[in-house]
Every structure is written in C-alpha cells, then in structure tokens.
Symmetry: C2
Subunit: 300 residues, 2 copies
C-alpha cells in the first residue's frame, strides 16, 4: 500500500503564555507525514517557497518521506501566526499569509497515482475533484478540514464529502458543520452525506470513530506539560492513516482501534515540544513503549 | 461491607431548551443511592420536609435503601432551580431555597456507624469532622463537592481533604480548586493534600481516576438524546461506590476500572429522562447489557 498526503507546509509563528517561536516549520502535510512515517513511507504533495529550510527536506528524506510531489516555487512559504491562552485548547489565529500556497494546484507525480490511501489534509475542498481525477484507481479517500472552509465554502465542502471514506474533524468543527451539538446526531448527518467513517477529534478529551455499525473511542493521553499544541490533530491523522496503510487499508475493527491508539500516541509526543522537534527526534521504540503504557490506562 | 451516603434530597425545577419540570424529586443523596442500589443496599442520611412524596420513600424501600438516617422535619424540602442551554454541559442555577436543609446536622443512626465506605456527597465541608467523629471505626471516606464550597469555604475544604480517600470532582471544579488548567498537575496538588484517589469527572468526555501510581480513564458513553443532565455526576459516584462496596472496598486496579465503567453506565441512564425516572425503572439486566456494550466501545 501507499499513503499520499496532500497538505500545507508552512512557517508557524507561535505564542504561548510562556514562550514565543518565530517562523518554525509546520503545516498539516509536514506534521502528518512525519507521524505517518513510523508505519509507512508516505508520499507528500505540497508547495514551499525558496525560503523553506533545506535541513527539513533532508529530514523528510531520512524519514523515507517521498518528496517528489513537493514543488519548490519562487516566493515565500505559507506563514501562519497563532496564539494560545492558558487553556491550550483555545487558540487564536493572528495572521495567515498564504504566499506560494495561495494558488496551489496539486499535481500528483506519476508514481503517486495509484495510492492505497489518499489524504486531503486541510486544503480547499474545491481542489478535491481535480486531485481525485488524477488517481488511476479508486483509493481510500481520507480528509481533514478546518473552520475556514466550513464557514466560507460549506456547499463545496458538503459536496466534497460525497467522495470521502474517512473524515477527520474536531468537535468544534463537527458542530459548526452540522449545526448539531450532540455528537452522535452530528456523526449521523455527516455519514449520511458520504463518509463511512467519521473520526471526531476532541483534543485532550480523546477521539471517537463512528463507523456504519460500530463506534469506538479513546481518551486523550494525559500530558503534564503541553508546550505547543500546534499540529496535534495532523499528527493524530498521520499516525492513524500511517498505521492503517501498513495494514493494507483494512478497515476492520481491531485495526481501527489500534490506529486510534497510535494516532493518540503520536499527537501526545507532538505537543511536548515546539513544532516538529519532538516527533522528528522520536524513535519507534518510544512510540511502542507509550502505546503499551496508553493501553494500560484504557484497558478495562 | 456497607455504604453510607450523606447528601441532599431535594425538589428540582428544571428548564431545558425544550421542556420544563416543576419540583421533581432530586438531590445528590437521592441520585447517588438509587444508582448504588444496583450493587449494594446503601444507607442514606439526609433531611426532607413534610412535603416530600411518600411514594419516593416507598421507592427507596423497594430498592433496599436504608432510610433510618432520613429525618423528616416540619417545613419544606430543599428546592433548587436550574436551566440548561443547548449544550447540556452548561447549566445556570436560578435559585436555591435551602429550607430544612439549611441547618442540617447529620446524625448517623447506631447501625450506620461502622460502614465500609462513607460518602460525603456535596454537603458543607464544615460538617465532615462531626460526621467522621460519629464513626466507630475508620471507613473509606469518599467525598464530592460543588462550586459553592470551593468559592465560599476553600480553606475548610482543603482541610477536609486531609481525611478523604477518594475525591470526586468535575474538571471545572478541579481547576477552580487548584488554580491549575492542566489536569495531571491539578491531580497531584489534590493528592498531596490527602486523597489517595482523585476521580475527575468530565461529563460527556468521560472520567479519569488518578491513583498514587496509576491512572485509568474511560470515555463518556455516547448518548444521542440527553433529556436532563441533572444528577449525572451523583449517579456516576453512586454506581462507582456501590460497585466498590460490593467488592469489600478493595481498591485494586481491576475493581476500580470496573467501578468507573458502572459509574459511567449509571450516569448514561440517568440523563435519558427527567429526574430519577429512568434509574428508578431500571433493571440490573439493562445495566449489565449496557456495560457489555460500553466495554466493546472502549476495548482495544
């Protein structure tokens, strides 16, 4: 199998109550592929400017992330600035400079065109049809989205859902998208529009996967020191889909449960340091040790 | 073993976005003992006025709840009124008429004085010493509290914690009490003041028990129709402590995990109808069936 990830690569400026970091590397595609790389060699599609650090490209290669789908264009890389309050679940976007990401039209290189899983991570839902038309055979289509598309392009987004197998959304987004406060009813609305699986991410409270005839949930892993929550949701999706891809995209109950566990574990490492720092230095042994510990917290 | 529950018995007037109920029977002691009664015959200590319905006393007796510690005084029963918004986690207290509960000084009847577990449910922490001094031998002391005591009597509350083995609090209260937004750090602060176990209740997001050297959590059970959240936390504590009492107060890992499960299951039934209606009509078979279903949602 193979996992193709289409998402953003960015510079993030992050302010927390105690610290500030200027223009560190982030983006949904970055976080997601680093997390997925523990389970499968992901293929990334995205665009960066000439200012994107060479050492991050070298890191991708060391992690066996295929970067043939990464365009390097004249101009500046996408830049996002956000602030977190004392409650790390609350963040405010200070500015968004799209730069080269603004008119990004994803092109899948020939070797990418028959993936097992394609992940449309936080990109304009208006681009989905064009991307999916580049695939030579049907793949399992996973998608994440953000408040921006829900509020500015709701109709395009609902149409895009028709072609999606697995939707990742956080609980605020799921309510915004459906107008439902009850998660069970919201999940039904979304599933009736297309997705076989809805993965509702609840930040520190965990995540729940709703299938057609089953539901399964995990608590968030408890973290004593949350340094930077940026990218936690992308790392979750990366761990989840990477693990799924390593199991040939089988969507059976046991595989989905473990995918939820690995997603949670990757997200929990992600928040321990700024940016991709912790996950970039992580070993598979550390991932497995934390997965075993997490299992003990959850097991009846 | 035996479980003594000291708490409120009340009339609740409840307004939800779709319905209103005037003066239905509630109170922490009521919810908690009904939930506990599936596992152990609890003993209740509390006070009601002459207006308290005889059929509820009859219900208690049918459920094998010992009411010898229930005082019936001249005057009116405690009355609370609260409103819920579209998000059932948010409630507003409209009024509180303490009535006969105002100068309640709990007296334990002689047969109650050597319990296995004593549960101090939401009563003035200034009363704890007097209650504990009525016990003939040390019992496992469990306690719940509310925002009112945290904000009006914080020092009395912290001192009361020194004698507590298991503290139940919701996540808003835990933050208010400790000034910590991070739950792990907040739990450590509370445990260093006395309680061996902290059970953090997170409403629909589940619950986490922090022990000295272990932590265990469950998600909330997903409910499609939350009719009335009143008493969910008390039903959780009742199911938890009732189950614990039926296992001779053993605090081992496996028993605590199942206690968390049963607490969650009882709370999930509680919210399906107004007041105690659903739990009063519940059978042990229904409890076990939902516990088995809940286990399937959580199991890796």
């Amino acid at each position: 199998m193979s996992l193709v990830i289409i998402g953003s690569l960015a510079f993030d400026t992050i302010q927390t109550p105690s610290e500030r970091r200027e223009k560190i590397v982030g983006g949904s595609g970055t976080y997601c592929s680093l997390a997925a790389s523990f389970f499968t060699p992901p293929r990334i599609v995205g665009v960066v400017g000439e200012d994107f650090p060479k050492d991050v490209l070298a890191l991708f290669k060391r992690k066996k992330i295929d970067v043939r789908g990464l365009e390097i264009r004249r101009g500046k890389t996408f830049h996002w600035e956000g602030h977190y309050g004392h409650d790390p679940n609350q963040r405010e976007t200070i500015r968004t400079e799209l730069n080269v990401f603004g008119d990004f039209r994803p092109k899948l290189p020939a070797p990418y065109r028959a993936p097992g899983i394609v992940f449309l991570a936080n990109i304009d839902p208006g681009l989905h049809d064009d991307i999916l038309s580049q695939l030579e055979r049907p793949a399992l289509v996973a998608m994440d989205t953000i408040k921006l598309w829900i509020t500015t392009k709701p109709q395009v987004l609902w149409r895009a859902l028709e072609k999606v197998d697995i939707l990742f959304v956080n609980d605020e987004e799921v309510r915004l998208l459906t107008g439902e406060t009850n998660l069970v009813r919201a999940a039904k609305k979304i599933q009736s529009a297309g997705p076989r699986f809805l993965v509702a991410k609840k930040g520190e409270h965990g995540a729940i996967v709703f299938g057609r005839d089953f539901v399964f949930g995990v608590l968030g892993r408890l973290c004593e020191n949350v340094v930077d929550p940026t990218g936690a949701g992308d790392s979750f999706a990366g761990g989840f889909l990477g693990y799924l891809d390593s199991h040939a995209g089988e969507l059976d109950d046991a595989v989905l449960r473990r995918a939820m566990g690995y997603g949670t574990v990757l997200a929990s490492f992600n928040v321990e340091e700024f940016g991709v720092r912790r996950v970039a230095a992580l070993t598979l042994e550390e991932v497995e040790a934390r997965m075993a510990e997490f299992r003990r917290v959850l097991e009846f």
